[in-house]
C-alpha cells in the first residue's frame, strides 16, 4: 500500500508511532511542544502525548542533549531534537565526549540508546549562522551513527531503526526536504545500506540527504543527453556503505560526489578517499566533487544559490567526468 505525504508528515508519523508504541520513548527539545516544532514537525504531538513525553526545553543545548544521554543510560529511549545543526555546536562536548565515548570507555558496560534529530542545510536564505551542513563532523566520530533520510519513505522508517539501536544515532533532516511530497511506502524497506535510487551504467552520482533531489534531477537531464547515470543515496554516513559504491564504480568507472558541505574536509572527501583505497584501478577519470563553495553562506538568493550544489552543477561535473565538458 502506498500514498503520498510530505517529508514533514512522514517524520511526524514516525514520531507518533514511536511515542505510541514504546513507553520509554519521549521527545525533547526547544519548542517541540507548544510551538509545534520550528519546522512544524511535531505539531499536535504535545496534545496527543502530554508534556512529560513531549518536553519543551529551555535554550540549553548542552544540558538537554546531556540529559538525553543520561536518560538513555537510565533506561529511556529519548529522541532529542536540536532545532538545527547550527545549534549543535553548543552541545558538541556532550555528543562527542559523552554520547560517543561512553560505551567504549566504560568497557562496554553502558550503552547510550539516544536518537538525536536535527534539521540541517541551506537553501532558505537564513544566512551564515543558520545554514550549516556539518553531518561530516559527526560522521568522523567513532561511537556515533549518522543517517540522513533523503526521501519520505526513509524519513518515515529510519527513526524506528534508530530507536532500536543501542548506540547513539543522529538523524539529519534537510530543511529543503520538509515540504517535499512523495509516495510513502508504508512498509519499512531494508534501510541498512546505501540505496541505488536510479540505475545507470555511465557514471555513479553519489549523494545523500538534501542533495538527492538535485542529483536525481541531474540524472534526468543527463539522460536526455544520452548519459545514463546511476544515482546512489548513501543513507548512512556512519557507517558508510562502501561496498555498494564499489559495486557501482565497478560498472560505471566514473564518479561524481554531491554533498552540500563545504568542500574541504567534506563527506565527499572521505568517499573519494575510500573509493581510491578500494576501487582505484576501476576509475577511468578523476572523481569530481560538487560541494558548497568555501564561503559563509550568504543571504541573498542569487548568492546562496551560486554557492550551493545545484542540478546544473551536477550536470556540468558529470559531463566533465565523462569527458564531455
Amino acid at each position: 500500500m502506498s500514498r503520498t505525504c510530505t517529508y514533514r508528515e512522514a517524520v511526524r508519523m514516525a514520531l507518533r508511532d514511536a511515542l505510541g508504541t514504546d513507553p520509554r520513548v519521549f521527545l525533547m527539545g526547544e519548542d517541540v511542544g507548544r510551538y509545534g516544532g520550528a519546522y512544524a514537525v511535531s505539531r499536535g504531538l504535545l496534545a496527543e502525548f502530554g508534556p512529560e513525553r513531549v518536553r519543551d526545553t529551555p535554550l540549553s543545548e548542552s544540558a538537554f542533549v546531556g540529559a538525553g544521554i543520561g536518560a538513555a543510560l537510565g533506561g529511556m529511549r529519548p529522541i532529542v531534537e536540536i532545532m538545527t545543526v547550527n545549534f549543535s555546536l553548543l552541545a558538541m562536548d556532550q555528543i562527542v565526549n559523552s554520547a560517543a565515548l561512553l560505551h567504549h570507555m566504560s568497557g562496554g558496560q553502558f550503552a547510550v540508546p539516544l536518537v538525536l534529530r536535527m534539521a540541517t542545510g541551506a537553501g532558505k536564505q537564513l544566512a551564515a549562522q543558520h545554514s550549516h551542513s556539518l553531518e561530516n563532523w559527526f560522521a568522523h566520530v567513532p561511537g556515533l551513527k549518522v543517517a540522513c533520510p533523503a526521501t519520505v519513505t526513509d524519513a518515515r522508517h529510519l527513526l524506528g531503526l534508530a530507536l532500536e539501536d543501542p548506540n547513539p544515532v543522529l538523524l539529519f533532516e534537510h530543511v529543503m526536504l520538509y515540504n517535499r511530497e512523495e509516495v510513502l511506502v508504508e512498509e519499512a524497506p531494508d534501510l541498512k545500506s546505501a540505496v541505488v535510487r536510479r540505475e545507470g551504467k555511465d557514471v555513479s552520482i553519489v549523494t545523500y540527504g538534501g542533495s538527492l533531489p538535485k542529483a536525481s534531477e541531474a540524472a534526468e537531464v543527463l539522460s536526455s543527453e544520452g548519459i545514463d547515470a546511476e544515482v546512489i543515496d548513501l543513507r548512512w554516513l556512519r557507517p558508510l556503505d562502501v561496498d555498494t559504491l564499489v559495486r557501482s564504480v565497478a560498472k560505471t568507472h566514473r564518479v561524481v560526489l554531491v554533498d552540500e558541505g563545504w568542500k574541504a574536509g567534506s563527506m565527499a572527501a572521505e568517499i573519494c578517499a575510500q573509493l581510491v583505497e578500494r576501487a582505484f584501478f576501476e576509475l577511468d577519470a578523476p572523481i569530481r566533487r560538487v560541494c558548497t563553495d568555501e564561503v559563509p553562506i550568504p543571504y541573498p538568493a542569487h548568492l546562496e544559490q551560486a554557492v550551493l550544489p545545484s542540478t546544473a552543477k551536477v550536470v556540468g561535473a558529470t559531463r566533465e567526468v565523462l569527458g564531455r565538458g
Binding site: 519548542d31 529551555p58 535554550l59 540549553s60 553548543l90 544566512a127 543571504y299 542569487h302 548568492l303
Partner: protein, 333 residues
C-alpha cells in the same frame, strides 16, 4: 537593588519629539518589512521588534558614540536608533550590495563598524562573550566606553549567559547587559524556560548590580540606562537591566502563534510603548496631534525613501562575495 533614579532629564518638546521619532521609525520600518516579506522582497528569517521599541530607543539614545553595541537577530530597531541609515538597513533586508553588511547578512546580521554596531547575532546567547571581549579591549586600551549587550530572556538559560556574566563581573568589565524580557523565547513562556523567572535575580549570583525596568516606558528605560552607565563608569564593573516588554508580532514570519492567546497580545498592545508615550505627551500637552502627524509623515517618507534606495540598488556579484572570505594582510598563506 532599588531604583534610585538620577535627577530627571527634563522632557522638553525637542526631546519628546526625538524619542517619539525613533520609536516611530522602528515601527514604520518594520511594518514595511512585514509587507515586503509578503511581497517576497525580504526573505529568510524576519524577527520583528514591534512592541519593544521603547527599549532600543531609550537605551541607545542614552549611549555615546564611543560605546559599543552587540545585539541579536531582532535588531532592526537597535540599528536604526544607532544611526545606521534606514537606507542601508533596508538595502540589507533586501540583500543588496549597498546594505550595511553588503547584503550578505540580511535581517539577522546588521553591522556597522563606524558606529560600533557589532551585530546582528543569530545564535541565541552567542553575542554575550563577544561583548565581554569588546569591553575588555576598551579597558585594556584605556578607552572610556561601555559595551551595551542586548539579548532576550530566553538567552538567560544558555551556558554562555552564565559564563559571560561571571567573567564580566570577575574582571569588572564595562558591560551593560540588557535583557529584553518579552516573556517568550519563540513559543516557550519564561516560566517554562527558567526556574527563576525574575531574570535580574540571576545577576546577583555574579554580584552584578541589577534592576528591572518597565520596558514599555521609554522615559524609565532612558533613566535606568543613564544610571547604569554612570554606575559602570564610576565602579568599573558590569550592570544588568531586565526590561519588561512584549513582542506584538509572531516570533518570525513562520510562527503560527499556537502558544499564546490573542487576548494576551491585545492587552499588551493597549499598553504599547508608542500609545503610551503618545498619551503622555498629549495629556501633558507637550506635543500636539499635528506634530505627531508631521513626525509620522516624515518617518514614512524616510522609509519610503529607504525602500526606493533598496529597490534601485545592485546585487553583489558572486565573484566579489566569493573573494572576500578573508581580510587581506599579513604574511600567512
Amino acid at each position: 537593588m532599588s531604583a534610585t533614579v538620577l535627577p530627571e532629564m527634563e522632557l522638553t518638546q525637542a526631546r519628546a519629539e526625538a524619542l517619539l521619532r525613533q520609536m516611530l521609525r522602528i515601527r514604520r520600518f518594520e511594518e514595511k518589512c512585514a509587507e515586503l516579506y509578503s511581497a517576497t522582497k525580504i526573505r529568510g528569517f524576519l524577527h520583528l521588534y514591534i512592541g519593544q521599541e521603547a527599549i532600543a530607543a531609550g537605551v541607545i539614545g542614552a549611549l555615546g558614540p564611543e560605546d559599543a553595541i552587540v545585539a541579536t537577530y531582532r535588531e532592526h530597531g537597535h540599528a536604526l536608533v544607532r544611526g545606521i541609515p534606514a537606507r542601508t538597513v533596508m538595502a540589507e533586508m533586501y540583500g543588496k550590495r549597498t546594505g550595511c553588511s553588503r547584503g550578505r547578512g540580511g535581517s539577522m546580521h546588521l553591522f556597522d563598524a563606524e558606529r560600533r554596531f557589532f551585530g546582528g547575532h543569530a545564535i541565541v546567547g552567542g553575542g554575550l562573550p563577544l561583548a565581554s571581549g569588546l569591553a575588555l579591549a576598551d579597558r585594556l586600551k584605556g578607552r572610556k566606553a561601555v559595551t551595551a549587550c542586548f539579548f532576550g530572556e530566553g538567552a538567560a538559560a544558555e551556558g554562555e549567559f552564565h559564563e559571560t556574566l561571571n567573567l564580566s563581573a570577575l574582571w569588572k568589565l564595562p558591560v551593560l547587559f540588557l535583557c529584553e524580557n518579552n516573556l517568550y523565547g519563540m513559543g516557550t513562556a519564561l516560566d517554562r524556560a527558567t526556574s527563576e523567572p525574575n531574570i535580574h535575580r540571576h545577576a546577583a549570583a555574579y554580584r552584578i548590580p541589577a534592576q528591572t525596568v518597565d520596558g514599555m516606558d521609554i522615559l524609565a528605560v532612558e533613566a535606568a540606562t543613564r544610571k547604569a552607565r554612570a554606575h559602570i563608569e564610576s565602579q568599573g564593573g558590569p550592570y544588568f537591566l531586565e526590561l519588561s516588554t512584549y513582542r506584538f508580532r509572531a516570533h518570525s514570519m513562520f510562527d503560527p502563534e499556537l502558544y499564546r492567546d490573542r487576548s494576551e497580545v491585545e492587552s499588551w498592545k493597549a499598553k504599547g510603548p508608542i500609545v503610551r508615550f503618545k498619551s503622555l505627551i498629549s495629556e501633558s500637552g507637550l506635543l500636539g496631534e499635528s506634530v505627531v502627524r508631521r513626525l509620522d509623515a516624515e518617518v514614512c517618507a524616510e522609509i519610503e525613501d529607504a525602500v526606493i534606495y533598496a529597490e534601485s540598488s545592485e546585487w553583489e556579484p558572486a565573484d566579489e562575495m566569493l573573494a572576500d572570505v578573508y581580510r587581506k594582510g599579513g604574511d600567512s598563506p
